[in-house]
């Protein structure tokens, strides 16, 4: 196991220990640790040469690819803070995020150059834009392939210490604006160390990642693999399950992290056509797996351990169910991960006993620093702990615990929707709906869906004669929202239910 103090030590130590070992397989490319580190050094040195340095924010706006992984470590090596932005994010939100964290550098792809040119005009803090997929420099934008050839490959001098920020991870908030969770190196190293411990990761592991790196669950697959010196097979997504199964078979993948939607899709297929015996484990988090799916997965992958887990970006991971407990407590998300303490509190702040419902509270060195420049929201969620300077995480999730300390998720305290394992703020979708001419009122709720967990449903009240169709509403949403936030259903109605204070009641619409 590594003795890393900074997140990029994961890469550097593995590159020192076994430079010729395969680190990354992506898009038909295979890169050793030495190759990957040299490219990260080249980009880091280019960032430093462009005066991007300690504490600056480097945004990475790319689909899953080798360049995204390289950019993460390059930013860290330059002493900067990285933030990965979902590649389906549209212009307005991208511009909001970059201005919110005042990004000084952006790494993206040439296919986005028109949008990025507009973006540069709206984000005054940006001084360095590097593009994958283009050979020569363009106006105000430099070529990443050129940096990979020309910038020096030596390891830059070590900058920063473990209480510096390593990343800002944007997550949906109930206010409708994304919130940036501030993660120090110490937070991330602690989380990764704990998870690799209970998953028993070893250098021989080959982990396939189909989840976006903007999602902490996807991002940590990179970090964990590099921490133990294993191999990462990075895929764009899970749209073509057969292609992923082919890859698992061909690469002899040992670890497969997924969310319930992915496992539901797998269970609809005839898996006997593939040799999947190399899989040592499957992990599930982001939303609970139905118990029937747990049983079917165990039958389909008899040799693989199945880990049910629970977490949130604000501390990365909270709990896991040791696989040997699955038969006894299939509905549980288990016990605290190593080096973490959890309990359940009622509304008066008293710890509740077994079987009683309350809010889950988390204590540990992986509890992040709070939300970027949002002191009030930070104070609500990250509250003072036992010792000076310590923060406890109030998860906003209601849980119960059984006599033996195993956790069971009950519900969220707020209206946040979980669709495909991703958090969706109803307010964010409603705000987009209100921007459509003719919409008077809008309310968005999650409705049960066998594949998505929750599907997004929009109730819309439109002006007489506005003549809006469902298709127009969906098209507007698709133009302004990430793909997982676009409603599946639109229902036009004559009025929306209100609370006594006159606010639209999402609760009544859900009922």
């Amino acid at each position: 196991m590594s003795s890393a103090t900074l997140v990029h030590d994961f890469l550097q130590q593995s590159a020192d220990r076994h430079p010729g070992k395969m680190a990354l397989v992506s898009d038909g490319r295979r890169m050793t640790y030495a190759d990957l580190e040299a490219l990260a050094n080249r980009l880091a040195n280019a960032l430093i040469a462009h005066d991007v340095g300690r504490g600056d924010r480097v945004a990475i706006y790319l689909a899953n690819c080798a360049e995204a992984v390289i950019a993460i470590f390059a930013a860290l090596k330059a002493g900067a803070i990285f933030t990965c932005i979902n590649s389906t994010t549209k212009f307005d939100k991208l511009s909001y995020i970059l201005n919110n964290c005042r990004a000084t550098a952006l790494v993206s792809h040439a296919s986005r150059r028109d949008m990025l040119a507009r973006l540069c005009a709206q984000v005054p803090s940006l001084k360095f834009v590097a593009l994958a997929g283009v050979e020569g420099d363009e106006k105000n934008m430099v070529s990443l392939p050129q940096i990979f050839q020309e910038s020096p490959s030596h390891r830059p001098p070590r900058r920063g210490i473990d209480i510096d920020l390593a990343a800002i991870i944007y997550t949906s908030g109930s206010t409708g604006r994304p919130k940036g969770v501030m993660c120090t190196h110490l937070n991330m190293v602690s989380a990764s160390t704990s998870i690799t411990q209970y998953l028993e990761n070893v250098p021989e592991d080959i982990i396939i990642n189909v989840l976006p790196l903007s999602f902490d669950y996807g991002l940590y697959q990179v970090l964990m693999v590099f921490q133990v010196g294993a191999t990462l097979v990075l895929e764009r997504g899970f749209a073509y399950p057969a292609a992923i199964l082919n890859r698992i078979e061909a690469e002899r993948v040992t670890g497969f992290p997924g969310v319930p939607t992915i496992f539901a899709m797998l269970l609809q297929m005839d898996l006997s056509r593939w040799d999947l015996t190399s899989l040592r484990y499957l992990t599930n988090t982001a939303a609970a797996l139905p118990v029937t799916h747990i049983q079917q997965l165990r039958k389909a992958f008899p040799q693989a351990k199945l880990y049910s887990m629970y977490g949130l970006t604000e501390c990365k991971r909270v709990s896991y169910l040791p696989p040997e407990e699955l038969d006894r407590r299939p509905g549980s998300v288990g016990i605290a991960i190593p080096n973490t303490e959890v309990w359940i509190e009622d509304e008066e702040g008293r710890r509740v006993g077994p079987g009683e419902v309350g809010e889950l509270v988390v204590r540990g060195s992986h509890v992040m620093q709070g939300y970027w420049e949002l002191p009030e929201e930070t104070a609500r969620t990250f509250r003072p702990g036992r010792y000076p300077g310590e923060r406890l995480l109030y998860t906003g999730d209601l849980f119960t615990m059984d006599e033996e300390g195993f956790l069971y998720f009950v519900s969220r305290k707020d209206d946040i929707i979980k669709s495909r394992g991703e958090k969706v703020s109803p307010k964010e979708v409603e705000d987009v709906l209100y921007r459509l001419d003719g919409v008077i009122e809008a309310a968005v709720v999650g409705v049960p869906d066998p594949l998505l967990g929750q599907a997004i449903k929009a109730y819309v009240l439109i002006k007489d004669g506005a003549g809006l169709t469902e298709r127009q509403v969906l098209r507007h949403c698709a133009a302004h929202l990430e793909d997982f936030m676009v409603p599946k259903y639109v229902e036009f109605c004559d009025s929306l239910p209100k609370t006594s204070s006159g606010k639209i009641s999402r609760r009544s619409l859900r009922a």
Partner: protein, 92 residues
Amino acid sequence: MHIREQIRHHIVENFLFGNDSLADKDSFLEHGVVDSTGVLELVLFTEEMFGITVDDEESLPENVDSIDNLVGYVTKKLNCLCEVDARTSGEL
């Protein structure tokens, strides 16, 4: 309608909500036309519209991930079906 027109019409109506700017060679995934669950819907449509069965292992980008790929795949499948029909009816 020809296969290409039928497919194009379906994509534009159901995934692009009427926006007709996608080129026939463009990758659905790279252009954000479909996501993971969208591909399932697309496969279902293809099966129903053309009376073919898309086997799990055929649901691959090279068969499905653009209008061109989908047209090529459907055409190939339909040709196979015709050959089978012809063989069973003794015409070959």
